[in-house]
Structures are given as structure tokens and as C-alpha cells.
């Protein structure tokens, strides 16, 4: 047969549907109902991966979510999905799986040489490497680690799959479809509640799918069938199969990911999403998440063929796969006996032995073993494994009564697999996500949920309740929302259900061997050994969170589901503490890795983020504008003509504004209508300046500050009527400012009769700037006297522009004569085009944000967010004239009396002229008093050498006096210039500071920030 480990009958597979798949290019077959893992095992494929650090051969260890080894890349090209657990991928026809982290091949992996380098790669390897010299890190360690470590490759092509999100409400959300979860669901459904039940498996049932048991006098599997039928028929029950709850959040909120199409499988037809994220909000949450079996820690316990006993039972009963012809079972509890008995009864395997750490195993199990002809080695342990790429034999020794040593002679037992069970750990992750606390239970030997969380009930193994009757009782109580029945964990029923035997955390080694001990792994995915954890403890990393980071225990895609508790117990022993006192690491979402595609859902590509376009966007695009993202807005950055680069285009646009006339789309500026009888009083409090005495038809520039006195937005205020103002804000600050006004109106001064409304999108703004702007407007406007004497600077008129009713404001952000036309958004295009046509012979030129920034910088005008970062007062920015200290109160006023805001050495806005007039300083460049070259400064000096470092007699780092905030090459000035914030800058005019750059240090002269037309003669045209 092509599947040498497949039993002739049995299992929950469909033998009428044979499926072909490949692994590393080789063809295999399986059946519908297989997982990729069960199909690989059926074909006798043992070696599926190489370990991360030592590149040791690894096989399939588990049958579920805790799998540390069998991470494969499924599919090719745009469907390739790395790091999929073979235990969680359902087999389909044509599936193509590839091994990861191997070179050149899985069987002959060059990285395995790391095993011999192991003495150089101890725990804390990364930490110690970082502490070594920079050269070692850059040239040796990092490239080596990058190549050798890690998991699958990120796919190189865009993901062809689609994903979506659904929201659902429930009275009860149940996590886990094993006996406890099903019992809870049945009770809740019968009570008429809306139920959501999420289960990771393709079929509901959890352990009932492969463990023996009786419910209500019938085989458990009959009960399961009836339960599934009843739930499927209940209209108020939503069953989510293949759905893993990844996070549990406050107030009954669960996030779950449903696998709807296997990775690597091309969608047929319309397809639908490959994964769906469910957002569940429930009045009550029932966690019935079960427990994870623990492996045992003994030398070479990572060899392919070593597997959890429960996993082997699952493969046998669910997939009719026997993991070995001659399995050896190694356990410290009763549960593994069921695996041994089932394999023996299959008639296919001959159980080599049951190795039980206990001196007195449970008598009825001993009798059953005897009946099946299985030898039970009592008080025995496996101390070694032969066979590198697959188990060939086990070495067994006798355990001393205290469990601390082995004695006698080692005996070899031939076997082809070792099925281990080291006890069970409740999967209480989701309980801990919402702040639930776990305590170490000395009787059940596990971390068990302790203090209840409001609205969260636990049922079954997650609660350290293992006997089936108790599990069902807890499930029913949880479903009904009542308290669980009294009864000790571990329960009344005996049998092969209790894991309560004393654990053996680490198999002791014979004295002769301890020096050259083979590796006994705790965390297989991270290649952490028991020795690594003991080393961490010796080197002082004794706290669990330190040990985790030093040894990597509990990192990776399995997050320590398999090895964590063993690791904690070994750390506890190494530090002489109890496990409870040692504690556990923090459980955080997600419970399993979640793909970026699932998280993004439909919000990718064009739907990633809303795009805001001005009413003139189509014109800008048609005229070749290069766009700049400003928040969500698309703004024209510059309009290159053919052959022009950005520099040339911006220089041309600036020249047009300085000598002729330019047009700027300023529609993105925030516009807020503030009206009501108290609007003036209100704005007096919001702005540092006085607005209540502004005449109707007049415009005033203002800054608003927080109570700490720091500038947070600026713009103009225009009084349109006695009780009505139009406030403009920065493009990025529009929403923030409206919120700010609303907060004060609703909470501090609710008695003020003021309303604030956004008009940003309803109104467009076209800025007309340049000496010929009046001439241009005269050609297209009606009903407005544009003469300088009658239409003064900072005033507003109403009239018609190109036949459209509009407001004109005489405002200038360039220093030139300028007007802003504010008009309904729908009319903006017609007006813009009319202006362009009318201004042709005047040299009219559209200009973008880059030219606008440059022009304003030449005038020393600030941009909030560029010259400010929330730590500048108006005084720092040279805007003290905007602060009406005579007002009795305004937001921020009191802070200007604080010592800190009055310091002489506050950073103040200055202009900066580099000695090299062709050099444009990088924005953000630091300014210092002494010309130090960065190349002279040692990059790194260990901190323990003490004392300052001197370069040319100056201490390094040298004091930083300020930084460049804006920097440009100016055609109008014929040179480069910058704006900067410099300590005590206003007292430093004329001084020289230095900007140390990567390759040179640039001397710069401090000057007044207004560099162009300082007398302001050009403002009136």
C-alpha cells in the first residue's frame, strides 16, 4: 500500500475520496478527513522540519494547536502561506507543502553543523552577542543568525486570498466544542438563549472524538452525535467550526478567526474569504477550552517519532493512522494507558513497553496491560534515545523512590516511536486575557484558574476538572449561568481520566553521563533545553519573565503551549522555589498566530484608508500635479512641466508668485462656522488674541494654545456678522480644533450660546497670490472694489467671482499681495478655470504645497507641526504680539506667568543662513556651538568606562542648542536658508552655530526669521 501506516479500516476519514498531495515535491496520498499531519504520518513521513537553532531533525509532535515543529509553507506564488501547522491544515487534492529553514534539503541540512557549535550558542546567546564588539555583530553574528534562524519566508507576491469580518451578538458565547462546551450549549439553547459556539476542529466533540467514555449509559460518541444534531437544528445557535478564538477582551468581547478555505487552495468561482474574523459580543462567556498535554523532559526527547500520547491516540482513532509499529509509551499518569491499549487492540502495533515513572501505577490499568501482553516498567524512565532521523530504541533506567536519581543498569528497548505524557495543563489563556488569575494547584499539578471574572464561566479541563461526569456537570452549570456544582477538581470518577499523579519535571541522568549530557528539550520550537534554563538561573535570570527572554522559552508561534510549564518547574527547582512562587509568564492575545490578511479584512488596497480629494482634484490631476498626502488629503505638491524636476518646478512656481500671479488650492484648510450671541466671548477664551472687538468684515490671525500655554493650532478668524465668525484651521488640525471647541462648549461653558459647525468640505478656498492678483481679480469679479485703499489688508468682502457668489479675503501667506476666494465647493472648478483663462497673459501659474511652504518660510511664517511640536509658546515663535495679556482670561494665559515659560534660554524661532549658500541643511539637523565632526565621535563606548569622552578638548556629546525646522533653496534670496528653533535664539542674531552632518560640519549664521521683504512693502501690491 502507498500509505504504510494507515490501518485498513476505522477512523473519521472518507476512504472513497483519495487525495493526492506533495511534500517537498514528492507525491503522496491521503483521504478526505485527513489533516496534513495525519496524511504525512500515514505515509511514514517522520522528518518534517529542522529546528531553529541547531537544525536538528524534527517530526510531528502533537495533533493540534500546540504543534512546535511541523511548520510548513503551503501553496505557491500568490497563495503561498508560511508557518502553517501541519496539524491544523485539512488535506485537499493538490496540496503542495514545503519544509522551511533547511538548506540545501530537509534530509541533508548544512545548518545541522550548529549542533557541533552548540557550546558557542548557549542561552542568552543574543544578549551576549549584543554586548560584543560592533564588528562581531555586524559582520559575523547578524548575517549568520539571519540566515540560520527563523521560520518560513514571507511570500514575495501580493496575497491572492480575500478576507472579511463579521460582527455578532449573543447571550452566551462558548469557546470550545468538547463535552463541556457542548453541554453548556445544549442547556443554553434549550433555555432559548442566542448561542455562539466556536471550536477549532472541523468536527465538534473535542476529546470525545477519540477518547473512550460513557454518557447517560451510552457510548459518548452516540451522545455527541445527538448533541450535534440538536444544536444544528436550533435556530438560535450559531456553530463556528474551524474557528479559533484568538483574543478575549473586556465585557464579553471575543475575536475569533474562522478558516473557510485551506491555505494554498485557489478559490473556485466567487470563492468567498479564505478566513473570516468574527467579532462576538456576548452577555456571558463560557470557556471550555480544555487542556494541553505536557511532554516529558529527557535526553533527545525531540527525535522524530517522539510524540504526545494523546496525539497518537487522536491519529489512531480519528485518522486510522498508527504512528508506530513498535511504540513505547512513557508516562507519569493514567491517561497514556488508553493510547497503549488502543494501539495494541488495533492489531497493527505491538507496544514495546509502558514506562511509568510511578512505583505503583493504577492496579486496574496494570491488569488490563497484562491482559493485552504489554510489559509495564514501573518506577522507570527513558534516559536516552537512539536514532537521529527517527527513533530506533530507548534506553531505560530505574528511578530512585524520591525521583531525584536513577540507578541500576540502562536497558535498551527496541521501539520506533515514544509516546509521552507528562500531565495536563489547563488552556486558560482566554481566562487570563481578561485579567483572570491562575494559581498553582498542588493536587492537580497545574496552573488553574482561581478568582472568577464577572461574566466568564469555566467548564471542564480548563478548570482542571477531568472526569467526564464532572466536566459535563460544569458545562451544564456554565450554560445555565449557575454556579458549578461542588466537588474537588479531579472528580469523583476514577479511570483513565485523572492526570493527578505527581509529575517528573525532568528525568534525572546517570552520574556518569551528566557531564556530556545530551540535550533534553523543554521548548522545541526555540531549541531551549533544560540546561539552558538552569544556566539562566545561574546567571541571574531567575524571574520567569527574565528567563523567558534569556532562553526564548515560550516565544514563537506556539507561545510555549507545549513546554512552558515544564520550563517553569525546572526554573523553580533550579532556584529552590515552589512552582506557585515562581509564577507564570503573561498570557496575551492572540492565542494563535493570526494572518495579516485576516486582520486587515477588506481594508486593504483602495479601502485601506479613506482618501479625501478637493473639488479641484480632477483639474490638478489633468495638469500633471504630483500629489502630497496631508493626513487623508491629496494635495498638489508641485506641477512639473515636461523635463522639469521638483526643484525646477518649485522655483518656477515661486517666481510666478513673486513676479506675476499664482493660484493655490487651499480647500483643505479647516473651516468652522462659529455662531451665536456669545461667539465673540467664546473666541476670546479660545484664542490668545482678542476676537470680540473684531469689526464685521474684518479678518484677524490668531493662535490657540492649550492650558499649558503651548501653541496647538493657528489660522484666521473672520467676522461675518455680529454673531457669526468663520474660523480657519490648519489642514491637519481641522477635526482636532472642532473637538476642542465642542469640549469647552459642552463641559466648561455650557451656558454660552454658541454653536460650532464644520464647513471644511462645503467650502472651497482658492488663494490668488502675486503682484498681479488684483489685476486678475478685477477681470473676473463683480461687486467688489478691489482698490488697496478700500479693500484693506485683513478684510473681507462679498461679491461675485466668475459669476459665483463668493467671499474675498485679503490675506497673504506668501508676503505678496494676495486674496483668498472662499466659495461653495461645487462652484470651485468653474471659478478656478475662469481664473486660469483670465490670467493667461499675466503669467498665471498654479502652485503646490512645496512652493507655498517655501514662500512662507522666506517670510518667516510658521507652520504648526513644522516649527512647533507642542512645546512652543507664541512668545517662542516671535508671535508675542498675538497674545492679549490685557484680557482677564484665556486658555493658556496663566501659564505665561510660570517660570518655565519665561526662561531666557527657551528655544526661539530664528532664521539660519549656512555659510555654504548652495547647501540645504536637512530638516531636523542639530545645532551646536562647537564644530565637531560626527565622524570623530566614537559610536559606542561601554558605559562602565566612566567619565566624559573628549574630542579636540570638548566633551562629547556636545550640548545641543537647537534644531532646523524648515530648510529650502530660495531663488528669491539667491541662496539656501532655514528656520530653526535655538536656545535663547533672539539674543544670538549674528552668531555662528554649527550643524554636524554625516560627512561635514556646516557653519550657519543666525539671523532674523523674516528674510524676504522684511519691511512688508509687497503686501499691498
Amino acid at each position: 500500500m502507498s500509505e504504510p501506516f494507515r490501518l485498513p479500516d476505522g477512523g473519521r476519514i472518507d476512504r472513497s475520496r483519495r487525495l493526492a498531495f506533495t511534500f517537498d515535491g514528492r507525491g503522496y496520498s491521503g483521504f478526505a478527513g485527513d489533516t496534513l499531519a495525519s496524511a504525512l504520518l500515514a505515509n511514514g513521513v517522520r522528518l518534517v522540519a529542522r529546528s531553529m537553532k541547531y537544525h536538528r531533525p524534527r517530526g510531528i509532535m502533537t495533533a493540534g494547536v500546540e504543534e512546535p515543529n511541523a511548520l510548513l509553507t503551503i501553496g505557491d506564488g500568490e497563495l503561498a502561506t508560511p508557518n502553517m501547522k501541519a496539524t491544523e491544515v485539512a488535506l485537499y487534492d493538490g496540496l503542495a507543502a514545503r519544509s522551511q529553514n533547511v538548506w540545501p534539503t530537509l534530509a541533508y541540512d548544512a545548518g545541522a553543523v550548529n549542533q557541533w557549535l552548540a557550546p558557542l550558542l548557549p542561552a542568552g546567546f543574543y544578549y551576549k552577542t549584543f554586548m560584543a564588539s560592533q564588528g562581531f555583530w555586524q559582520h559575523l553574528a547578524e548575517p549568520f543568525i539571519r540566515r540560520a534562524a527563523g521560520f518560513g519566508q514571507a511570500p514575495g507576491r501580493a496575497d491572492a486570498d480575500s478576507y472579511d469580518h463579521r460582527h455578532v451578538h449573543a447571550d452566551v458565547a462558548i469557546v470550545g466544542g468538547g463535552p463541556a462546551g457542548l453541554a453548556a450549549a445544549l442547556v443554553a439553547a434549550r433555555a432559548g438563549l442566542r448561542v455562539v459556539l466556536a471550536d477549532m476542529g472541523s468536527g465538534l466533540g473535542g476529546s470525545l472524538l477519540y477518547r473512550d467514555g460513557e454518557i447517560d449509559g451510552r457510548p459518548a460518541r452516540q451522545w455527541l452525535e445527538a448533541a450535534c444534531q440538536e444544536l444544528e437544528a436550533s435556530p438560535a445557535v450559531r456553530l463556528l467550526r474551524r474557528t479559533v478564538v484568538t483574543g478575549h477582551y473586556d465585557q464579553g468581547y471575543l475575536v475569533a478567526v474562522e478558516r473557510r478555505r485551506e491555505p494554498g487552495l485557489r478559490a473556485s468561482g466567487r470563492g468567498g474569504p479564505a478566513e473570516r474574523v468574527w467579532h462576538v459580543r456576548a452577555s456571558r462567556v463560557v470557556l471550555a477550552t480544555g487542556a494541553h498535554e505536557r511532554p516529558l523532559v529527557f535526553p533527545d526527547n525531540d527525535r522524530p517519532g517522539v510524540m504526545l500520547a494523546g496525539a497518537a491516540l487522536s491519529y489512531l482513532r480519528q485518522h486510522a493512522v498508527a504512528v508506530g509499529r513498535a511504540p513505547l509509551v512513557f508516562t507519569q499518569n493514567d491517561t497514556a494507558y488508553e493510547t497503549a491499549f488502543a494501539l495494541a487492540r488495533s492489531g497493527w502495533s505491538r507496544v514495546a513497553a509502558i514506562v511509568d515513572t510511578r512505583t505503583e501505577p493504577t492496579p486496574h490499568l496494570l491488569a488490563e496491560a497484562e491482559g493485552l501482553g504489554i510489559r509495564v516498567e514501573r518506577a522507570a524512565v527513558v534516559v536516552g534515545v537512539k536514532g537521529r532521523a527517527g527513533v530506533q530504541s530507548a534506553e531505560i533506567m530505574t528511578l530512585a523512590p524520591d525521583g531525584g536519581a536513577v540507578r541500576g543498569e540502562a536497558r535498551a528497548v527496541d521501539c520506533d516511536s515514544i509516546l509521552v505524557s507528562g500531565g495536563w495543563s489547563p488552556a486558560a489563556h482566554l481566562f487570563a486575557h481578561v485579567g483572570g488569575k491562575l494559581v498553582w494547584d498542588e493536587a492537580a499539578h497545574c496552573f488553574r484558574p482561581e478568582r472568577p471574572v464577572t461574566g466568564v464561566a469555566l467548564a471542564g479541563a480548563v478548570n482542571a476538572t477531568f472526569a467526564l461526569a464532572d466536566v459535563l456537570a460544569e458545562g451544564r452549570a456554565a450554560g445555565a449561568g449557575t454556579n458549578a456544582p461542588a466537588g474537588a477538581p479531579g472528580g469523583a470518577q476514577g479511570g483513565a481520566s485523572g492526570p493527578s499523579a505527581a509529575p517528573l519535571w525532568q528525568v534525572p541522568l546517570p552520574r556518569s553521563r551528566t557531564k556530556k549530557a545530551r540535550k533534553a528539550f523543554v521548548d522545541l520550537q526555540n531549541d531551549t533545553t533544560a540546561g539552558d534554563i538552569q544556566l539562566a538561573a545561574r546567571e541571574g535570570y531567575a524571574a520567569v519573565e527574565h528567563m523567558k527572554r534569556y532562553t526564548l522559552t515560550g516565544f514563537g508561534t506556539d507561545q510555549g503551549k507545549l513546554g512552558n510549564v515544564n520550563g517553569l518547574a525546572i526554573l523553580a527547582a533550579a532556584t529552590g522555589r515552589s512552582i506557585g512562587a515562581t509564577g507564570h509568564t503573561t498570557f496575551r492575545p492572540p492565542y494563535v498566530p493570526v494572518s495579516f490578511g485576516a486582520l486587515a479584512g477588506v481594508e486593504r488596497g483602495d479601502l485601506l484608508d479613506p482618501v479625501r480629494r478637493t473639488p479641484l482634484h480632477a483639474w490638478h490631476r489633468a495638469h500633471g500635479a504630483v500629489f502630497e498626502d496631508v493626513g487623508q488629503w491629496k494635495r498638489p505638491w508641485y506641477y512639473p512641466k515636461s523635463g522639469e524636476d521638483m526643484h525646477a518646478a518649485v522655483a518656477r512656481e515661486c517666481a510666478a508668485v513673486r513676479t506675476a500671479v499664482g493660484l493655490l488650492d487651499a480647500s483643505t484648510l479647516g473651516k468652522i462656522d462659529v455662531r451665536g450671541p456669545d461667539a465673540g466671548r467664546f473666541l476670546d477664551m479660545i484664542y490668545t488674541g482678542r476676537m470680540s472687538n473684531l469689526g464685521v468684515g474684518r479678518v484677524r490671525y490668531g493662535v490657540m494654545c492649550k492650558e499649558d500655554g503651548m501653541v496647538f493650532d493657528d489660522g484666521t478668524v473672520t467676522r461675518l456678522a455680529e454673531d457669526r465668525f468663520l474660523v480657519t484651521t490648519t489642514t491637519g488640525g481641522a477635526a482636532r480644533v472642532l473637538d476642542w471647541l465642542e469640549e469647552y462648549l459642552q463641559t466648561e461653558w455650557p451656558s454660552l450660546r454658541v454653536y460650532a459647525n464644520s464647513l471644511t468640505e462645503q467650502l472651497a478656498t482658492i488663494a490668488v497670490a502675486g503682484p498681479k492678483s488684483r489685476e486678475l481679480l478685477a477681470r473676473v469679479s463683480r461687486g467688489v472694489d478691489l482698490a488697496a485703499e478700500t479693500f484693506g489688508f485683513m478684510t473681507c468682502r462679498e461679491g461675485e467671482v466668475a459669476g459665483v457668489g463668493a467671499r474675498l479675503m485679503r490675506i497673504s501667506f506668501s508676503g505678496e499681495l494676495g486674496f483668498e476666494i472662499v466659495l461653495p465647493a461645487g462652484s470651485a472648478m468653474a471659478v478656478w478655470e475662469a481664473l486660469m483663462t483670465a490670467g493667461k497673459d499675466l503669467g498665471i501659474t498654479p502652485y503646490g504645497t512645496e512652493a507655498m511652504h517655501l514662500l512662507r518660510a522666506e517670510k518667516g511664517y510658521i507652520i504648526v507641526g513644522q516649527e512647533t511640536d507642542g512645546t512652543q509658546t507664541p512668545f517662542d515663535l516671535g508671535l508675542g504680539w498675538l497674545v492679549a495679556m490685557a484680557k482677564p482670561d484665556f486658555i493658556g494665559k496663566r501659564s505665561y506667568a510660570r517660570d518655565d515659560t519665561r526662561r531666557e534660554d527657551r528655544k526661539q524661532l530664528v532664521g539660519l543662513l549656512p555659510d555654504d549658500a548652495t547647501l540645504v541643511l536637512p530638516e531636523g539637523a542639530q545645532l551646536v556651538e562647537t564644530p565637531v565632526k560626527l565622524a570623530d565621535v566614537p559610536r559606542f563606548r561601554p558605559p562602565d568606562t566612566g567619565g566624559p569622552i573628549y574630542v579636540d578638548g570638548e566633551p562629547v556629546p556636545v550640548p545641543m542648542l537647537g534644531h532646523v525646522t524648515s530648510s529650502y533653496a530660495s531663488a528669491a534670496l539667491g541662496r539656501s536658508f532655514a528656520l530653526a528653533l535655538v536656545k535663547g535664539g533672539r539674543q544670538r542674531h549674528g552668531q555662528t552655530l554649527y550643524a554636524p552632518l554625516e560627512t561635514r560640519t556646516v557653519a550657519c549664521r543666525i539671523v532674523d526669521p523674516v528674510l524676504y521683504d522684511p519691511e512688508g512693502k509687497r503686501r499691498d501690491g
Binding site: Y249, D250, Q251, G252, Y253, R281, G435, V453, T454, E707, D708, D739, E742, E743, Q746, T747, E748, P750, P888, D889, K893, R894, S895, A897, R898, D899
Partner: protein, 100 residues
């Protein structure tokens, strides 16, 4: 993710809301009368209790109105929400300011 009952709109997910800051910190009537320490206390210092915390939220994706929430900073439990200008007492047995 919190489930917050907006006093105007009803229960909505946390993503509908914007967190403000500690509630019931009134802006001083006459800031000029305060010394530096008192002003700094108003501008910079907040109580940050372990336990019940009265705080201010805004229903940003809904009615856009500010209201107050009493939330446990330990368990994230919300026991009441109410409008600005109100200050209902906590249920019996719960300590104001959060010390437990």
C-alpha cells in the same frame, strides 16, 4: 474592547468613542488668583487611581457629546455613565478615588 453606554445613544463599542481625561476637573474661575503650584495641579496632575475612576469620554462616532464614565482601572468594569454636570454617588460599598 470596552462596551460603553452612551447616556444619549445606548451601549456602543469602545471604538465609537474618544477618551478624554479624568472627569470633574473644573477649570478654575480665576486662574490669575492661583499660585504656580495650584495652577500646575490643574494643568498637569491627575489622580490615576487603582480602582474606581470617574473619567470623561466623547461619543466621537455617534452623537459627539461628552459624558462621564465610572470605570475600574483594575477590572475595566464600568458601573455607570452620566451626563456632564451630574455627579451621582457610587453604589454602596465602593470607594471613591479607587483605594480598595
Amino acid at each position: 474592547m470596552l462596551l460603553i453606554r452612551c447616556p444619549h445613544c445606548g451601549p456602543r463599542p469602545e471604538t465609537d468613542f474618544r477618551y478624554g481625561h479624568e472627569a470633574h476637573i473644573a477649570r478654575p474661575e480665576a486662574p490669575d488668583q492661583l499660585d504656580d503650584a495650584a495652577w500646575a495641579d490643574f494643568v498637569f496632575l491627575r489622580s490615576n487611581p487603582r480602582g474606581w475612576h470617574r473619567e470623561r469620554w466623547m461619543h466621537a462616532a455617534g452623537c459627539r457629546r461628552w459624558f462621564n464614565v465610572v470605570r475600574s482601572t483594575v477590572t475595566h468594569e464600568i458601573i455607570m455613565t452620566y451626563r456632564p454636570g451630574e455627579r451621582p454617588a457610587l453604589p454602596d460599598g465602593l470607594d471613591e478615588g479607587g483605594k480598595r
